[in-house]
Symmetry: C2
């Protein structure tokens, strides 16, 4: 069993981007920038946004957090998004979700220029992903794909089984893996809560992507020998032995399942860190697009 | 075995739309309109466009064919699309593909207002389909879905296997069937030419959707007893007994497979006619959207 090491891989990606950005600095060129817009007080969102800004800093990428009060009007937020659509220093725009209830999230996401949509949530980004056009892919599925590619996991003609059909993980990763492209070209099954018996499908998986949001859901008898397991879950469960009183586990019962796997992602240290790294990579891509259109 | 009768169902849909439109006429209201834009001389395209116009006429829908010479510039075509985006009498815009090579098809499709995108080819329509927002669904997958619904085929938790991953059939129908909605909510597998053995997957299908483009590809031993078969193929094969010298067959070997099915679409008389009916339905929907935004 080989660990798909998200920590190491994410660090490699950050290292590569850091090198690219330092070249830009040497050449006296503009550098990529990411703006994160945060509305209202949400402790989890604040932590996310802060860690994203820290990641940018680490690799020499410009970053900015726009903190707006919770009573910010939809119009004000739309105006701010439009302002950053035109900003030459910020190539990626991220609006941290969830937004306060009086703001229409879809409207805000659709206002982000598709050229700066580093979260890949704009319907046009999702549509382009499906039809196989180069586009921004949301960070978690992009991170899963990157991890499989860097470990040179064979995907062509293999059976990828995705458990879960969320808009930000299950659906996009399924649509990535079925494309006729290197690192994809798989037969893809998407199963979910409506299935009579999910293990009918998971047991067929050459590559199993678990994005259910249920701690240790995937057990040993649900997978076949030699499977590649990608665990997207980040679940908090009680742990009295920890000083925090909890620990983070995935959607896969790692202790049971790992011995049957050819490859498996740990939790933590797997997909989560890849997600963060892909935001940086998407921002760098947005910068490249901006620069190519400029000149 | 019950025939999923596309001819009868399409005729029902046309009848329903005709009734709706005659009500609008009685009320002295504007009626829905479809414009089809055709560039250059392509005999197949001319036939398609003519049959679409004839369908409109039959149900009292306004229709217009814009025929442009093959040397029409991209700019001229873009201008025409933009003109119809603003036209209050044409609520659906269809640009017949393929376009001459000097015109960028993607650019033209993206110029169509998503509110008038009755072909459902705009990336924003595809993206919205994936995330489960109400949108225009391209006519063939919409027709398949409508046929399954009108025959009250149970889909929840059942295994839909799609063979083929084209942008206009395989990918959208897969994305429809996995939505958490009535008439969908299925476990979905998409298999294709890269699969080691396609019958490993087709034999699992409760509902098999064949969109391969290969005559009589699906044989008796590739399906299980009681399967629902939707045959999207329209293939011409030699037939000396016919005065035309050819006949139309599907991707499924109907004569072999039908006896194992609970339901099956014939070819011709199945999905093809549903596709045509859905274009009318999409145009009526575009009209409703236009009217609701107007007032």
């Amino acid at each position: 069993m080989i660990l798909l090491d998200g920590k190491k891989t994410a660090s490699e990606i950050r290292g590569e981007l850091k090198t690219e950005i330092s070249k830009l600095v040497e050449q006296g060129k503009n550098i990529p920038g990411l703006v994160a817009i945060l509305v209202g007080e949400n402790p989890a969102s604040e932590i996310y946004v802060r860690s994203k800004a820290k990641d940018c800093e680490e690799i020499g990428m410009r970053s900015k957090v726009e903190k707006l009060p919770s009573d910010t009007s939809e119009t004000r937020l739309l105006d701010l998004v439009k302002q950053y659509n035109e900003d030459k220093n910020f190539h990626g725009i991220l609006v941290q979700l969830p937004l306060p209830k009086h703001i229409d999230e879809e409207k805000i996401i659709e206002a982000i220029s598709p050229k700066k949509d580093v979260d890949g949530f704009h319907p046009i980004s999702i549509g382009n992903l499906v039809i196989g056009k180069d586009t921004f892919v949301s960070c978690t599925p992009a991170g899963i794909h990157e991890l499989l590619m860097r470990y040179k996991i064979e995907t062509k003609g293999r059976h990828v089984v995705v458990v879960g059909r969320s808009n930000i993980v299950g659906k996009p990763i399924a649509n990535i893996m079925l494309q006729k492209k290197d690192g994809a070209n798989s037969v893809v099954t998407i199963c979910h809560s409506a299935a009579k018996d999910i293990s009918d499908y998971t047991r067929q998986a050459d590559i199993l992507i678990a994005a259910i949001g249920s701690p240790k859901f995937i057990k040993k008898d649900m997978v076949k020998e030699g499977v590649v397991v990608v665990d997207v879950g980040i679940n908090r469960i009680e742990d009295k032995s920890s000083s925090k009183g909890y620990k983070i586990v995935g959607d896969v019962d790692f202790d049971e399942v790992a011995s049957k796997c050819s490859y498996i992602t740990p939790v933590p240290g797997g997909v989560g860190l890849m997600t963060r790294a892909m935001l940086l990579k998407n921002t760098f891509k947005a910068y490249k697009i901006y620069e190519s259109l400029k000149g």
